[in-house]
Symmetry: C2
Subunit: 641 residues, 2 copies
C-alpha cells in the first residue's frame, strides 16, 4: 500500500496532498467517477480544477481521496477568496494574481508564499463552491436531488455519501509548533503568528484572547490575594477593590478591541471583504426564487420559522430555566440538611460534608449545561435558519441565557434573597473550582487519554515503531480520520465567559476568584493547545476579524457586574455602619454611585477608540488609495471625451 | 444691465446660470483672469471645465460671476461625486456616464435628469476641487500662499478675495414648492421629495424628522390632555403615563431609523459612498507630509490640539457651566422674592408677578445659549481641527453639554433638591413656552420681517412693479446676494432636542408639555419653511444618509428620562402612600423598576432592526450583484490562463 502511494508521489512530483475526502463505504462507481471528474474539470466547464488521487487502503477499498492543487491554481484561488497579504512596502493588500510581484516573499518558485492552512482553506472554498449545472440528482442516488447552483459537496454531505472532508496535518510543522507552543516550560507569550499560520485566524484569535484575558486578570488576582490573606474586610478597601474591578473590566474589554485590530490587521483579515453568505448545509425548503440573488434555491417561509421560534423554542427554553431553578431549590434543601447534620454531630467529617452539596450541585450544573447544549443545537437546527450566522446567533443566545441562569441563579439567590455572605463565598468558591476541574478533565485530558490509547493500539496493529513524523501518508490519513472533530471555539469562549461571570459578578465578596481564574487559564492554554495538536483532526482555517458576538456578551456581563457589586457593597455591614440613622440615605447613595459608575463605563467605552491610531491611519491610507484609483479611472474616461 | 445679460443669454442659449460667485470689490484684474481661466480650463489642464459669465451691475463694477456647465459636463460630474439615481427597473444604482441609458427618465436631450440642486452640488464640488498646480500664491496676492493640491476656492475664501459662493434660486420651482409646502392650509404630509429636489437631502431630512417627531408626539399629547383636564393624580395613572412615555420614546427613535432608511434609500444617499474628507477651510499649520495621502499639506500636531482642548476649552466650558449654575441660583432668589411679595400683598398683580422670575430666567437662558454658541464656535475653530467632521463633533459636544445644563439644571434642582412639584410644573411650563415663543420669533419671524422690508425697499429703488418670477437675473442676483446665509440644521435640531428634553425628562409631572410641543412643531414647520424659502439664500444641497450625531443625542436623552421619571414617580405622594411602613421598600422597588425599564429599552433597541426588511433585501441584492461582478472578472481572468 505504502509503495503504491509513493509511486504516485514520485510520478507527479508537484502533487502535495492537502485535504482528505472520505466517501461512504460502498459508494457507487458512477458517483465517484462523476464527483472526481467535477473536481478535476476545468473552471470553464464548471469544475474546480483541482488535483485528486485515490488512496488505496490495506483492505483494498478505495473510499479515501487526497485533494491537492497546482501552485498556480492556489494563487488564483487566493484571489477568489480575497486573501489579504503583506506587500513589499509592508502595507497589507488584497492579493491579486496580476499584482503578485508586489507582494513580500513572492517568487514564482516559492511554494511557501501561501501557508498550508491558507491552501487548505482555498481548496475547501473551491470544493464548497462546486455547483450543480444541469444535474437533477447525484448520479446513482436519485433521492439526492440537485438543482442548478446547489453546492454539490453540501448535498453529498447531507445525503451521507460524503462522510467527511478534513485538512491533513503537517507533521513537520506541527512538531515545531508544539515545541514552541507548549513543548518547553517557559515564561512568555504564545507563538500566535505560528498558531495562525497552522490553524487559521479564528483559533489563533481565541488563544490570543485567552492569553490577553489571563494577563488582564493578573492585576485583579494580585490585588485580591492580600484581601484573602489579611482578611481585609474594611469598607473602604472593599469599595476600592470593587471600583477598581469594574473600571478595569471595562478597560480590558475596550483594549482587547484594539489588540484584536492589531492582530487581525497583521494577519490581513481586518481588511478582508465579507463573502456573500450561501445557505447553510442543513437548510431545507421547497424550491423557489431567492429575491436577492434571483436564483432558484430552497426557500422557507419566515413566518413558519417565527412560529417555531416563539411557539416551541421559547416555551422550551423557559421550561428549561424553570427546571434549572427547581434543581437549585433542591440544592438549597441539601445545603440545609448538611448544615443540620453538622450541627447535630460536629465532627471533621460533618464539616467536610458541608462542601458536598455545593460540589454535587456544581457537577449537576455542568451536566445540565451539556445536555441543554445538545437540546439547543437540535432546536436551532429545527428552526431551519437559512444562514449560518443567523443559526449561530440563535444558538448562542439560547445557550448564553440558560448557562447564565444555571450557573449564577443560586449565587444571586444566596446574595440577594438569603443575604448570606458566608454561604455566597463558599458556594462561589466550590462552583468555580469544581467547574474548572470538570471542564479541564472533560475537554482535554479525557479525550487526550482516549486518543493516546487509540494511537498506541493502531501503531501496535501496524507493527511499526516509527515516530509520528516518519509515518507514510496512508498511515497518517488512517490515523487522523479517526480523530475527533474540533467543533469550533464556541465551548471554549463559553467557558471563559462563565469564568468572567464568577470573577466579576461577586468580585467584592470573593477576591480570590481572580487568582483561581488566572491559575485555570494558564493550564487551560496548555490543555487547549494539547487538544488542538494531539486530540483533534486539524480544523480548516477560518478567517475572522474579531471575536464577534462574544465581545458583546462580555460587555453585557461587565454591565451586570456593576449592578451586582454596587448592591453587595451597599449590603456589607461596614457600609451599613456608615449610615446609622437612615437606611434611605444608604440606598440612595448606592443607587447614585451605581449610576455614576455606569455612566463612566459608557463614556469610557465611547472615548477609547476601537482601533489604535496607526491602524486607523493605515486603513485611511488604503481607503484613500482606492478612492484615488476610482477617481483616476473616471478622470481618464472624462479626458477621452 | 438687463439687456447685456439677456444678450449673453441668447447668444449662448445653453448657458443656464446655476451658481453665483461674488468677489471682493477691487479684486485685481490678474487674479480674476487667472481664476476664471482655471474655472473654464479643460480637465486635462487641471481646470474645472465649467462655464462662467460676468454679471455687469448698474454701477459698472464687475465683481459678480455666474457659473454654469454644459449638460455633458454635469453628467460627468454626477459620476465624479458618486450620485445614486433610480434605474429603469426601479433599483437604485450609482450613476456612471457609460451606463446612463439604463437610468429612469434619462434621455440625451432631457436636461431635467439631474435636479437643479444636484447640478449646483456638482458645480460646488468641482469648484472646491479646483486645486493649485505649481502656483506658489494667488496671482496678485503674494500673501495668499498656495501649494500643489491646495483647494483654490478655499484659499480665496480664507484670504477674503472671494466673498461668497451661493446657488441661485429657481423662482418658478420655488413658487410651486412654496405653494405645495405651506401655501395653502391643508392637513397632510409635507412634500418631502420636492423639498429634497430643491434643497437637498440634509434639509429634507430635517423637515422629515420634524414632521415625524410631531406625529410621534401626538399620542403623548392626546393621552396628556385628560391628565390636565381631569387633574388625574392617581398613582396608577401616572405610572401608566410615564411608562408609556418611556417605551414610546424608545420606539419612536428606533422607528425613525427605519423611516430614515426608507427616505434616504429612495433619495439614493443611503447607497452613496463616502468621499475622502479634505481638510476644512479654516485649518492651518506648517507645510508637511500627510501620512495618509502622501501629499504636501499643512499639518498640525495632535498634541498641541489636545493641549488646547484640555487646558483651555475644557476649563472654559466648566467655567461657563459654573456661571450658568450661578445664574440659576439668582433665579431662585428672585423666585423667593416674588413668593414673599405675593404673600405680603395678595393681589391679582402679585399672583401674576409669580410668573415673572421664570419668564426672565427663560429669556436669560436663551440669551446665554446664544452667546455660548458663539464662544463654542470660536473655541472649536481655534482648536484647529483638520476635518470638518471632527470640528462638528467637538462643537456639538460643547454646545449640547452646556445647553442641557443651562436649560434643565433649574428643573433638576427644583425636582430633586427642593422637592417642590408645584414649582417644577410651573417652571417647566414657563420655560418651555417662553423658549418656544422666543425661538420662533428670533429664528423666523424677525428675519422674515427684516427681509421683507429690505425687499420692498429694493424694489422701490428699482422702480419696478414686477412680481418675483418676472425679475431679471441681475435683479435676482442682486436681491439674493444680500439675503442671510442659512448656517445649517444645527440650531433647528438643537431646538428639537431641548424640546424633547422638556417633554420627556419630567413628563409625568407635566403631561401637557407634549401638547405644547405638538402645537409648537406645527407652527415650526411653517415658520422654518418660510425661513428656507423667503429669508435665506438658497443653501447648497448636502447629501446625507441619516441625522448623524443627533440620533445618539436623542437616544441619550431618552435614557436619562427613564431615570428622572422613575425618581419622580417614586417621590409622588400616591406611590409613597403604597409603602406606608418602609421607605426602603419604596426606594428598592423604584430602583428595580428603573433597571427593568432600562433593560427593556436596550433590548428593544437591539431587537428592532434599523432598516426595514425590503430595504435590507434591496441592499443585499446590490451587494450580491457587486460581488458577482467581481467574481465574473476573476473568473474571466482565470479562464484566459
Amino acid at each position: 500500500v505504502v509503495e503504491s502511494w509513493s509511486f504516485l508521489d514520485t510520478v507527479e512530483s508537484n502533487f502535495r496532498p492537502l485535504v482528505v475526502i472520505e466517501l461512504a463505504k460502498g459508494t457507487k462507481e458512477e458517483t465517484i467517477e462523476w464527483f472526481t471528474k467535477r473536481i478535476v474539470d476545468k473552471k470553464a466547464n464548471g469544475g474546480a480544477q483541482l488535483l485528486i488521487k485515490p488512496l488505496v487502503m490495506e483492505n483494498g477499498i478505495e473510499n479515501i481521496y487526497l485533494v491537492g492543487a497546482s501552485h498556480l491554481r492556489l494563487l488564483l484561488g487566493a484571489e477568489t477568496v480575497g486573501l489579504v497579504k503583506e506587500c513589499s512596502d509592508n502595507s497589507m493588500r488584497t492579493f491579486t494574481y496580476s499584482s503578485r510581484k508586489t507582494f513580500k516573499d513572492f517568487a514564482d518558485d516559492n511554494h511557501n508564499f501561501l501557508t498550508m492552512a491558507e491552501c487548505q482553506y482555498i481548496i475547501k472554498h473551491e470544493l464548497e463552491n462546486l455547483r450543480a449545472k444541469n444535474e437533477k440528482m447525484i448520479p446513482g442516488y436519485p433521492q439526492a436531488k440537485l438543482y442548478p447552483g446547489k453546492s454539490i459537496v453540501r448535498r453529498l454531505l447531507t445525503s451521507g455519501i460524503l462522510v467527511q472532508i478534513f485538512p491533513l496535518h503537517d507533521r513537520e510543522e506541527l512538531k515545531k509548533l508544539r515545541h514552541s507552543w507548549y513543548g518547553r516550560v517557559k515564561v512568555g507569550y504564545q507563538p500566535l503568528d505560528d498558531i495562525r499560520c497552522y490553524f487559521g485566524e479564528t483559533i489563533a484569535l481565541y488563544f490570543g484572547f485567552l492569553e490577553y484575558f489571563t494577563f488582564a486578570l493578573i492585576p485583579m488576582a494580585v490585588i485580591g490575594i492580600p484581601y484573602y490573606v489579611f482578611a481585609w474586610e474594611d469598607y473602604d478597601k472593599y469599595v476600592m477593590f470593587a471600583t477598581f474591578n469594574l473600571l478595569w473590566s471595562t478597560v480590558i474589554l475596550e483594549v482587547w478591541k484594539r489588540i484584536c485590530a492589531i492582530l487581525t490587521y497583521r494577519w490581513g483579515t481586518l481588511l478582508m471583504k465579507r463573502q456573500f453568505e450561501e445557505p447553510r448545509p442543513g437548510f431545507h425548503g421547497v424550491l423557489g426564487i431567492n429575491p436577492v440573488t434571483g436564483r432558484e434555491e430552497p426557500v422557507y417561509s419566515s413566518l413558519k420559522r417565527q412560529l417555531r421560534i416563539y411557539l416551541v423554542s421559547l416555551p422550551f427554553v423557559c421550561l428549561c430555566l424553570y427546571f434549572s431553578l427547581y434543581v437549585m431549590m433542591i440544592y438549597f434543601d441539601l445545603e440545609q440538611w448538611a448544615l443540620d447534620y453538622h450541627k447535630e454531630n460536629e465532627t471533621s467529617f460533618s464539616s467536610l460534608m458541608l462542601y458536598v452539596p455545593s460540589i454535587i450541585y456544581a457537577v449537576v450544573i455542568e451536566i445540565m449545561n451539556r445536555i441543554y447544549r445538545y437540546a439547543a443545537e437540535f432546536l436551532t437546527s429545527w428552526e431551519n435558519h437559512r444562514l449560518e450566522s443567523s443559526y449561530q446567533n440563535h444558538l448562542i443566545l439560547k445557550v448564553l441565557v440558560f448557562n447564565f441562569l444555571n450557573c449564577f441563579a443560586s449565587l444571586f439567590y444566596i446574595a440577594f434573597v438569603l443575604f448570606d455572605m458566608k454561604l455566597l463565598r463558599q458556594s462561589l468558591a466550590t462552583l468555580l473550582i469544581t467547574s474548572q476541574i470538570l471542564n479541564q478533565f472533560a475537554e482535554s485530558l479525557l479525550p487526550y487519554w482516549l486518543q493516546k490509547r487509540y494511537n498506541r493500539r493502531m501503531k501496535k496493529r501496524m507493527c511499526s515503531q516509527k515516530t509520528d513524523t516518519d509515518l507514510s501518508i496512508a498511515e497518517q490519513v488512517n490515523m487522523e480520520k479517526e480523530m475527533g472533530t474540533y467543533l469550533g471555539t464556541f465551548d471554549d469562549y463559553l467557558e471563559l465567559f462563565l469564568q468572567f461571570g464568577y470573577v466579576s459578578l461577586f468580585s467584592c465578596v470573593y477576591p480570590l476568584a481572580a487568582v483561581f481564574a488566572v491559575l485555570n487559564n494558564i493550564t487551560e492554554i496548555y490543555s487547549d493547545a494539547l487538544k488542538m495538536c494531539r486530540v483533534y483532526k486539524r480544523p480548516f482555517a477560518e478567517p475572522t476579524a474579531n471575536i464577534g458576538v462574544w465581545q458583546l456578551a462580555f460587555e453585557t456581563m461587565s454591565v451586570i457586574s456593576v449592578v451586582t457589586n454596587c448592591i453587595l457593597i451597599g449590603m456589607s455591614p461596614q457600609v451599613d455602619a456608615l449610615f446609622p440613622d437612615s437606611k434611605m440615605d444608604l440606598v440612595l447613595t448606592v443607587a447614585l454611585v451605581e449610576h455614576l459608575l455606569l455612566a463612566i463605563k459608557f463614556i469610557m467605552a465611547f472615548v477609547i477608540p476601537d482601533k489604535p491610531r496607526d491602524i486607523q491611519m493605515k486603513l485611511a491610507k488604503l481607503e484613500f488609495e482606492s478612492l484615488e484609483a476610482l477617481k483616476q479611472q473616471v478622470r481618464a474616461f472624462q479626458m477621452q471625451l
